[in-house]
């Protein structure tokens, strides 16, 4: 199986603190991969290294596919309308499906004339997702996309990600982070647990659950690994 991302002894220092240290991992291509870990585990750092917003302090990270990215908090331009954002996506993209972008925005019931600064957190997340998906990336990276969403909006958003991925002609890799295991359980086939700047557990969800006799759910499994991390 091909890998979408390969990180080798990857480390990133912010000032004096190592957000990520000696991190070696692979993200398999064509899967929905969940990245879970407590706050401050280095999830955002890892994802921003993957999309080129950050550069490694040590080690290497290789990304084999063109990435679409939704950053934490789904930043958009407050002064630009929804339609302006779609036009921006087109202007900044080498491969853009305008029809898909419009369908995603319609499905989320976004008014094209609405200024993005007036959207709710959930609407903003949908707009940012539409921008990332319509450029038809081979790798879709979502950083805590469901944080700050209420349970209903969270469910709608995850469904929308699943639909967008299944609608893609070729296989898309999705890498998304969350500190809620429940989010990942529904959608992910592969899990990476990150804590203290290092990978604690990685593998297909089925295999992870099968290999652990005393854990009933993915949640139990993740928590049991996180308990072993020195605080």
């Amino acid at each position: 199986m091909d890998n979408a991302i390969e990180a080798n002894a990857l480390g990133k220092r912010h000032g004096r603190r190592w957000a990520l240290a000696d991190c070696t991992l692979t993200v398999p291509a064509g899967q929905v991969v969940g990245l879970v870990g407590p706050n401050g585990a280095g999830k955002t750092t890892l994802l921003e290294l993957a999309v080129g917003l950050l550069r490694p302090t040590t080690g290497t990270i290789t990304v084999r596919q063109r990435a679409g990215f939704v950053a934490q908090g789904a930043p958009v331009y407050a002064g630009l309308s929804v339609a302006d954002h779609l036009r921006m996506g087109q202007a900044l993209s080498t491969r853009w499906e305008a029809g898909l972008a419009r369908r995603l925005v319609d499905a989320a019931c976004l008014d094209p004339r609405q200024r993005a600064g007036r959207l709710s957190g959930g609407q903003r997340a949908h707009l940012a997702l539409a921008l990332a998906v319509a450029k038809r990336p081979g790798l879709l990276v979502l950083d805590e996309p469901t944080a700050n969403l209420d349970p209903l909006a969270r469910r709608e958003f995850l469904d929308s990600v699943a639909r967008a991925v299944s609608a893609a002609a070729e296989s898309t890799t999705v890498l998304f982070s969350s500190h809620l295991v429940a989010d990942l359980e529904r959608t992910c086939g592969y899990l990476i647990v990150l804590a203290g700047g290092q990978v604690r557990l990685a593998g297909p969800v089925d295999a992870l659950l099968a290999g652990s006799a005393h854990c009933q759910s993915l949640d139990d499994l993740v928590v049991s690994y996180l308990r072993e991390v020195p605080r």
Binding site: E48, F69, P75, L80, A91
Partner: protein
């Protein structure tokens, strides 16, 4: 991508152009003979580049870094360098155009008064083409400081704090020497040379002989000194030995007139005249100036230097943006 850069700056460019046009309409409607309007318009053109640096330059990247939208802009298929280049080009050229438009309108409006004054260098930095260069420089400076400080408001303050002294220092220390000044030697004229000093408290220099400015219409006289044949300046010791009584008996000729001037007694005038005539045997008046014909070469020169500095700042911005992360 050019569309995005324009879309993001459209509102502020429209507002700035409209404001300049409104000021122009008001100025032309009020007639072209009011010297206080001339002063205000000149101040506007002098201040405008700094404002463009503060309100357009500083927030350009700092605003994106602060709001997090750079994470959206810099993860598309367009490299962040290209993104920066286009944003710099669109907003930077707009800043130059706004300052240039304001300067052109004010130059046009003030032409009759400027011609009457014959002091083109007195309004050098609020006329013609140099304001566009200042605007480009202030804008690029604001962008770079925004990238370095990563926060909008501190970057705006820093832009003002760096730009203003830079402009002043250039005006005082560089502009007089952009082209080698012309020096002319004139005989010291006892009839038009006075004695005294002028300045602002507490920086009033010691009193000395003050030769009158020669008639050089529209020229920029940068210094007038009294020197001997070897180029040595007249010292206060030499002045005191040649004219021991100079500066005594002032102001005793009568009450001050309504304008605050005091009539100097004729005896003091005569003594000063004789003193200057004695000194004129060995000393002459040396005038350093930029002739009137150098106005346009100096305008182009200064514009070119500020544009070059703006390009250097833009290159530094590109380098720093590449380093972020």
């Amino acid at each position: 991508m050019t569309w995005l850069a324009w879309r993001q700056s459209r509102a502020q460019i429209t507002i700035a152009v409209a404001a300049v046009l409104v000021v122009a309409v008001v100025a032309f409607a009020s007639g072209r003979a009011d010297t206080s309007v001339r002063l205000w318009l000149s101040v506007l053109v002098v201040v405008l580049p700094g404002l463009l640096g503060v309100f357009w330059g500083a927030p350009l990247v700092a605003g994106e870094l602060e709001s997090g939208s750079f994470r959206l802009a810099w993860t598309q298929d367009v490299s962040r360098l290209r993104w920066l280049a286009l944003r710099l080009a669109v907003s930077g050229l707009a800043a130059m155009a706004v300052a240039g438009l304001a300067s052109w309108l004010v130059t046009w409006w003030a032409r009759p008064l400027d011609r009457a004054r014959l002091d083109q260098f007195g309004s050098f930095d609020s006329r013609d083409i140099v304001p566009a260069g200042y605007a480009a420089f202030a804008f690029a400076l604001g962008v770079l400081l925004g990238i370095l400080l990563r926060r909008t408001v501190p970057a705006m303050a820093a832009t003002l704090v760096v730009f203003t002294p830079t402009r002043l220092a250039f005006h005082l220390l560089a502009r007089p020497y952009l082209l080698p000044p012309v020096t002319e030697a004139l005989p010291l004229n006892p009839s038009t040379t006075g004695y005294g000093s002028s300045g602002f408290l507490p920086l009033v220099p010691a009193p000395s002989l003050q030769p009158a400015a020669p008639g050089l219409p529209d020229a920029w006289i940068t210094s007038i000194t009294i020197v001997n044949g070897k180029g040595g300046a007249l010292t206060s010791t030499e002045l005191a030995s040649a004219c021991p009584d100079i500066g005594r008996g002032r102001g005793s000729g009568g009450p001050a007139s309504s304008s605050g001037h005091v009539q100097v007694p004729q005896s003091v005038v005569n003594a000063t005249h004789d003193c200057v005539a004695r000194i004129a045997a060995t000393y002459h008046e040396a005038v350093t100036y930029q002739p009137a014909s150098r106005y346009w070469p100096l305008q182009w020169y200064e514009l070119g230097l500020f544009l070059a500095a703006a390009l250097l700042l833009a290159a530094a911005s590109a380098w720093r943006v590449g380093k972020i992360g």
